[in-house]
Amino acid sequence: MEIFGIPHQAFLGQLLLGLVNGAFYAMLSLGLAVIFGLLGVVNFAHGALYMLGAFAAWIMLDKFGINYWFALVLAPLAVGAFGVVIERLFLKHLYKLDPLYGLLLTFGLALIVEGVFRELYGASGQTYPVPELLSGATNLGFMVLPNYRAWVVLVSLAVCLGTWFIIERTRLGAYLRAGTENAALVQTFGINVPMMVMLTYGAGAALAALAGVLAAPIIQVNPLMGSNLIIVVFAVVVIGGMGSILGSVVTGLALGLVEGMTRVFYPEASNIVVFVVMVLVLMVRPAGLFGKEA
């Protein structure tokens, strides 16, 4: 049996791989959407935070022998704390200004962080081994799926669902959303809004770092891994609708699939297909698929 001229087995395999990449896009764009939706900051440092997460995991293993499972918790915490520092030192001064200032600031920070890591570790990257428990692969009949990649999809989906739940369905999420609508009013109810905002940025950074730790065993951990990805992730967020959490998750997964299919039918275009989709979507729905028209 063939689908569009390729054997259905290969086709199913490619769909699955697209889903794996989509899971990364979803998780990264989720962090971006949370930060933009609640803080109004266009966080260009997101790629660098993702890279920091991967490097934190690698350094923990290489220097301190801390294994993957601990790194999965510790690295996001460390990077989240770094995010809090960024928010306190720089970002909090910019909330009243045009979002452009936040964009420029985070872009500059990303360049600095990447530059420092390039200087320290070079560009060829470091190898992070797949954890023992998840090594090996499962034969699905139509393809051999490395167990680790299946794990990545599961974790990403769980994290996306959890984040959506916290923001849309819990009291804390309600405070957050209210705080971004009208900080002064919410503060009169005795809620510490600046603290909430700070923790939100930290949480967004931690999400990026978690994606980084998950990616470490798949690709070479290198200083450029974030900047290679960030533009695509921004496109995902724009297509999904800036700030829409559901939008970024759904779009992330969908674009992973679209990109995967492009790699089969016309590989040369796989780097730009996301942007073609972005242009088409914005022509029809300028606020993105799930965005609210202003």
Binding site: Q14, A137, Q220, P267, S270, N271
Partner: protein, 397 residues
């Protein structure tokens, strides 16, 4: 009126450049990938090697100080060519060294030819530089895709790996390497089943590898380099491709082997022009490099040093920095240093020995960076494009 003014300005510019060429410092420019996927195999350390060569030469030639300029081309041909043009027009650059990336090198070679300045291609792989696109001013010094294909490809096909599928970086270098390797495979009685082309600096190789796997070929030829090569290798092992296909890295640098680790690269056969542990002079150079960078030099970095030194020798011998005279002196010289021994042919191809190495297992490796054992030494006449195969007009006189 306006045209006159422009012509006048240009005339002044040329006059200034011309006079700077005779009296001021002799300027050597080095343009490479300083920050992206090829930065470790050449990059800033490559620029430093050119500076070391100048220092060791005494910092002066023809009683004029020597100055080294460096720039990052970001793997963009337009950035490379506009920087080269600016250096030549504005700074009166005497010679240009081109680091990694064939696309940028082909663009710079054109500028160098137009301005009659020697252009030394070190890192770019594409054999087009001395073949279809050859110029009297281009020297291709370290290696090229023909040599890589002949040395690594022939060995693999002769060992019974007849059936190939290529994973190719989608730009000048990848296309050259895929083409040259296909020629070698077919010439030795093998077949090429197909190829998939991935964008430069691709982050995820799983889809491409899955396509390679469904091809049922015996050999997966990786016609890419640097970060693309390491990520492809890593994914190939993850998906178990190395169990069903033999993976052939057509361009592998020692930095890639180090980065992936011996566990991931053991047994890999590769072609290169130089290895740090090949003789005393090489080890001495490597130690000096290691003391500064805490890693061993790649063959490109050794070649950067060598080409700058030999260029300065040629300037000294010719008594001028004039492009034509230096080139004819350089092509008449025997090149003999720690990097390699050989001679630059009329088409600009430096003909020297190439080596086939095999990556050691962790057990066999006795010291840090002790990665290769030599399998074969292939004389330059056999490794590179032969005059009969060449499409370069300069060889047809």
């Amino acid at each position: 009126m306006k045209l006159n003014a422009i012509a006048f300005a240009l005339a002044i510019g040329f006059a200034a450049a011309a006079s700077a060429q005779d009296t001021g410092p002799v300027k050597i420019g080095f343009i490479t990938d300083m920050s992206s996927l090829y930065a470790d195999i050449d990059g800033p350390a490559g620029g430093e090697m050119v500076k070391w060569a100048v220092q060791d030469f005494g910092g002066k030639v023809l009683n004029r100080p020597i100055e080294v300029l460096t720039a990052d081309h970001q793997n963009k041909a337009d950035v490379a060519s506009s920087k080269a043009r600016e250096w030549i027009d504005k700074d009166g650059l005497a010679m240009l060294i081109g680091g990694t990336n064939s696309g940028t090198a082909l663009a710079m070679a054109k500028i160098a030819e137009e301005k009659k300045r020697p252009f030394m291609a070190i890192g770019p792989g594409s054999a087009r530089l001395t073949n279809e696109a050859c110029s009297p001013y281009t020297v291709h010094y370290a290696y090229d895709t023909v040599a890589l294909a002949k040395v690594a490809g022939t060995a693999l096909v002769k060992a019974g790996n007849k059936n190939w599928y290529f994973l190719t970086a989608d730009y000048a270098f990848g296309h050259s390497l895929e083409g040259d390797a296909s020629t070698v495979v077919k010439a030795n009685g093998g077949t090429v089943v197909g190829a998939v082309r991935h964008p430069l600096n691709a982050s995820d190789f799983s889809s491409f590898l899955l396509q390679a796997q469904t091809s049922k070929a015996q050999v997966l030829g990786l016609a890419n380099a640097g970060g693309d090569f390491t990520n492809a290798m890593k994914a190939a092992r993850e998906f178990g491709i190395n169990k069903t296909m033999k993976i052939a890295g057509l361009l592998v640098f020692i930095n890639d082997v180090h980065s992936l680790g011996l566990a991931n690269t053991e047994g890999l056969q590769l072609a290169d022009s130089w290895y740090w542990n090949q003789d005393d002079a090489s080890r001495k150079f490597a130690k000096r490099f290691f003391d500064k960078y805490k890693r061993m030099p790649s063959s490109l970095q050794a070649a950067d040093y060598s080409v700058a030194t030999n260029y300065l020798k040629a300037v000294q011998a010719a008594g001028t920095t004039d492009g034509d005279k230096v080139m004819s002196t350089l092509k008449g010289m025997k090149i003999d240093d720690f990097y390699n021994k050989g001679q630059i042919r009329a088409d600009g191809r430096m003909i020297h020995d190439m080596y086939l190495y095999q990556v050691k297992s962790a057990k066999e490796s006795t010291a840090p960076w002790d990665y290769y054992k030599m399998v074969a030494k292939i004389p330059g006449e056999q490794a590179f494009t032969t005059p009969a195969e060449s499409k370069c007009a300069l060889l047809k006189k």
